[in-house]
């Protein structure tokens, strides 16, 4: 255990705890975009910067989501230097995605002037800030369908060769974790489209609601699959379960 000071408050943390985790456990808010508790940290967005003074008195700006606490350090999360650094990050991100509501909100919070209208292409629709949350989510699920491609300004997240991915299961986790809403999943009654691949949704054998892609159902571990192979939506599974109890209580089969 190490004792650290965060914004004047002392806290004992396990060695290796990140500065971000320690600060949040004290209820101190640090803005993040690419950090997600369920995913390995990657330090891509640079927004969670804090100032750390080590035992020798050296002060540095660090990325709090990737800074493991190893000794008794002092962390400050709201100094002028920190705010300046974050404002700079927001400014750069805003230049990339000027129409992102999330970034506009952050810009307001950190007093970043909106980009001069001359530099904002009206047809700029890219909301992606290249934080890689989606990439990490897909990798965590074991599907690895998307990755960063190209370099520099052209860098983006895409499937291999920009072709519909064969390993995609259409779960939509990438879109769910995207902090700016850049990934689009469109769904109509019978299909779901994501990353240019269109999935036919499987219909519940009881009520007919189309609720999942066949690939999603395939991933479910065989030991939890119904032995008779019936495909039911979650609602109907619950209903079947209740019906089993009800029939034990003497209710007649209905519809």
């Amino acid at each position: 255990m190490v004792e650290v000071t965060i914004d004047g408050q002392k806290i004992e943390v396990e060695k290796g705890t990140t500065a971000l985790e320690a600060a949040r456990s004290l209820g101190i808010e640090i803005p993040t975009l690419c950090y997600h508790e369920g995913l390995p940290p990657d330090g891509n967005c640079r927004l969670c910067q804090v100032e750390v003074t080590d035992a020798r008195g050296r002060t540095n700006l660090v990325i709090s989501c990737m800074y493991p606490i190893k000794g008794p350090v002092e962390i400050r999360t709201d100094t002028e230097r920190v705010r300046d650094a974050r404002a700079f990050v927001v400014k750069l991100l805003l230049a990339r995605s000027p129409h992102s509501p999330v970034l506009q909100h952050l810009a307001e919070e950190y007093g970043v002037e909106p980009l001069d209208a001359r530099f904002v292409p009206e047809d700029e629709t890219d909301l992606c800030i290249r934080c890689g949350r989606c990439v990490r989510a897909c990798a965590t699920l074991g599907n690895n369908c998307i990755e960063f491609v190209w370099r520099g300004w052209e860098k983006e997240v895409n499937t291999p060769f920009k072709e519909p991915s064969n390993s995609c299961i259409g779960c939509g986790a990438c879109a769910q974790v995207c902090p700016t809403g850049a990934i689009r999943v469109t769904e109509d009654e019978t299909t779901r489209t994501i990353w240019d691949r269109t999935f036919d949704l499987v219909a519940c054998e009881r009520c007919g609601v189309r609720f999942a892609t066949p690939e999603q159902l395939k991933v479910v571990s065989p030991e939890f699959k119904p032995v008779d192979g019936r495909v039911l939506c979650p609602r109907c599974r619950k209903l079947e379960e209740a019906r089993a109890v009800a029939s034990g209580l003497g209710a007649q089969e209905e519809n």
Binding site: H36, E37, G38, L39, A137, T140, L141, G142, C171, G172, A173, A175, Q176, V177, A212, Q216, L217, V219, V220, S221, E223, F224, K225, P226, V227, D228, R230, L232, C233, P234, R235, C236, R237, K238, L239, E240, E241, A242, R243, A244, V245, A246, S247, G248, L249, G250, A251, Q252, E254
Partner: protein, 162 residues
């Protein structure tokens, strides 16, 4: 199951189908009366047979096995399957995996929903007017009744392998 101090015990024979548990659950969790987001639901059959259904806190939970980020975990102390919403990445594999459909996903809040027994004082049990839902110490008698309920389930849905 024996590890819990208290058990949520459902006795469907007593259920009068009033739906109070659904209202109590939703007001407790989301602050409004909205049965569609409740973690317990009453399924009503003919002849006045009603069955309240909530997460069974399985010994070997399919949802936990499906969760890749550790957002769902079975607490070895309480026996409850708990959700850490911050860790959820919204893949919904828990929903696909649960054989009983007792876990749902709130797309607006980007959070999975399931019974958490209200952290130790379940609202459904508190407000159930017919004592169909009770929160009782996990002594032998309660566990026996729970097992009887489970047997009733198993006899009906032997096709679901749990």
């Amino acid at each position: 199951m024996e590890k819990t101090e208290n058990l949520l015990l459902i006795t469907p024979e007593r259920c009068i189908g009033c739906g109070t548990c659904e209202l109590a659950c939703s007001i407790g969790h989301v602050g409004e009366f909205k049965p569609t987001v409740a973690n317990i639901s009453v399924l009503r059959f003919e002849a006045g047979v009603n069955v309240p259904m909530a997460c069974l806190q399985c010994d070997k939970p399919a949802c936990v096995a499906a969760c890749q980020t550790g957002a769902l975990e079975k607490d070895p102390k309480t026996g409850l399957v708990g959700i850490n919403g911050a860790k959820c990445i919204g893949c919904r594999m828990c929903m696909m995996a649960c054989p009983f459909g007792n876990i749902t996903y709130n797309a607006a809040a980007k959070q999975p929903l399931k019974c958490d027994q209200c952290g130790g004082s379940p609202m459904c049990a508190e407000f159930c007017p017919a004592n169909a839902i009770e929160y009782l110490p996990a002594d032998t008698a309660t566990v026996q009744r729970k097992k009887a309920f489970a047997a009733k389930l198993a006899s009906g849905i032997s096709e679901v392998n749990v």
